[in-house]
Symmetry: C2
Subunit: 425 residues, 2 copies
Amino acid sequence: MKADYRSMWRELGLDLEAHDALLQGLGTAYRDVVAGQKNRPAAMAYLDFVMSEVHGLRIKELLDAKASGRKVIGAFCVFVPEEIVLAADAILVGLCTGADFALEEVEKILPRNTCSLIKSAFGFKLSKVCPYLEAADMVVGENTCDGKKKAYEQFKHLTPNLYVMDLPQQKTASGRQLLAQEFRRFLKVVEELCGVEITAERLRRGIELVNAKRVALSRLARLRAADPVPISGLDALLINQVAFYDDPRRFTDAVNKLCDELEERVGSQAGVFPTVTPRILLSGCPMAVPNWKIYDLVERAGAVIVGEESCVGERGWRNLTKADGATLDELLEAVIDRYFAVDCAVFTPNAEREQHVKEMYQEYRADGVIHYSLQFCQPYIIESMPMEQRLQDQGLNFLRIETDYSGEDVGQLQTRIEAFIEIIS
Amino acid sequence: MKADYRSMWRELGLDLEAHDALLQGLGTAYRDVVAGQKNRPAAMAYLDFVMSEVHGLRIKELLDAKASGRKVIGAFCVFVPEEIVLAADAILVGLCTGADFALEEVEKILPRNTCSLIKSAFGFKLSKVCPYLEAADMVVGENTCDGKKKAYEQFKHLTPNLYVMDLPQQKTASGRQLLAQEFRRFLKVVEELCGVEITAERLRRGIELVNAKRVALSRLARLRAADPVPISGLDALLINQVAFYDDPRRFTDAVNKLCDELEERVGSQAGVFPTVTPRILLSGCPMAVPNWKIYDLVERAGAVIVGEESCVGERGWRNLTKADGATLDELLEAVIDRYFAVDCAVFTPNAEREQHVKEMYQEYRADGVIHYSLQFCQPYIIESMPMEQRLQDQGLNFLRIETDYSGEDVGQLQTRIEAFIEIIS
């Protein structure tokens, strides 16, 4: 980090000592895991810069925006419609959930058998080390899984500006109605928070801005179908992670610039790994910064991850929102349709997801799927068992992994991953 | 069991060998745990008879009813509206979920980190040892927790006559609308299954029948407020468990007869345990037959359980359904209102439940609460942590237990329960 942001962090209410420790850990992990990779595209320099300033310049930007009257909304999940947030000139940021922090304190509030992502959110809050959370004017929780849904009851005591958005469990007419009502309620709340009336024109602009980001991420993903693959899975994951923090317009431009470079690589058959590298599709739970554990293990073991069927990945951006509605209502219906199509495992049934895994397997020419679940994430873990069975029956290679944010199982995971790569090579 | 039911079981498709083993285990457990208690009310003889014929005479009754054209509907949860089932002259039965069976086979389909209740349902199905499940014309699953919701996707393959009922997660207008739509859909399905048009008169009769059962169980519960307590917690639990299997009219009569006897006991200050016995309120997850583990431990350790804030207990029957509607629609709205008030931990927030625990604590003159969660039941476990904190702050004694259906932790539980009884004595 170039500038001295200590007074900014202090004013935000961060615990400076704990935050220093966090940044130091993050910096070391970044150097060891991300920056140490070979053959990185030159355009990744932008991502390196963003990451180096993720608690610095980006936070200053948010605070400057707040000073100019804009609002910051924090979210934990891809079900929070960024289109509506942007329509009100507010800024949507993903909140810190990718590392263990203050685990002992967290486990006084939440059961030990809670997934790392939820515990992490609590750890960052209790330790006062997430500047995004502290900068947010409103924090949106969503009733996806049991863990989050019930944990938000507790989180509300720590974060009084928590707003809970309900979600359906089935893709029925009743389910869609519930989502529609919740999105309409969210739109009103955002309007009130921002003192803005969301018009059709504003919502269309919001839709176009988010769609542009999705199109850029989609362009990046398609380039990974090439063999040799022009970018590591780890760098691609990082880009998908930064998508939740960065200014959407600037980020979209940066991804498109990166794609220009990757297209040249593909054209000249230049890859980040040799052609013979086994190709793996990652499927399952989201991975927030700095959760790079599986990617690091896989790519150090001589394989490459060519796609992520994950919220931090294709599940998060593959569907566009139709922007051709004439009225606010038509556009809002398009937003509802778009999110109602997200194939998260909290829905039952959720057959589209397995179909999508198969499509990605073909499209990215994968040799195997690694299904990644956070421990105790019942929706993804339960869904993964029949998926494994059926995909294996169809001849696809499939490895199920359950893990958390600790390093305790790295040795065991490495052994399993190396054995899997051996099989699919 | 008096008669020879083997041909009946064979025709139902049960695995006779596995079923013999189940019955033998159940019989031994019943003799050791339930029948071995002292000072049992004479009227418990009815319950002993019902339990001795739970896979015999009762199943024969169901099959006779089926032969006469009635339908049998199986359920796993108190959210399935018995009023509607009875209105169509069908029979609602609770399905077997109280013991481990074929665990190794189950854990090929479901994660090990799934609660015992869900695994048990699968175990009984895979082993073909639950005559209720095999006799059911329709099995109703409900989207309560993540575990059940996602497990039903698998259960559907084992049980093609599974019907899934969606449930809301919040007690909002949207949530009630979703429940209403689901109950209307269920009514139609039951009508179709039974070839019956449910009229206002029929539904009112169904409501009155279920209400009578609830009133009888409520009467029994109130009698347990007496000191000395006229019936053991274990016998009261057994009655609450049998409520899910037995013919509702006959069961209601039997409970009322038992209450007559208990009133005499209370009048003459005759108790099942001495006056000095520490009194415990049980709160949390449901306990299906033969899950008597905690009750057995508590009452052998010299305390008595005086109430159960549980689905198999007060959460299951405390709210009555208003029967004074004139039209089918008014009556159905009353049914919806009634179930929408159930304070299950799958709802968020669910503050009514904590309030109810406090009320029961006062009403039944409890000296402590034992909060019982099945391992990996995230809704109840997460909810219990702040509840423990707040109730302890208000001076209530509170012990949180997480367990499963195995006997592995009995020694450890015994130590913790004895220490708790020591504290509250």
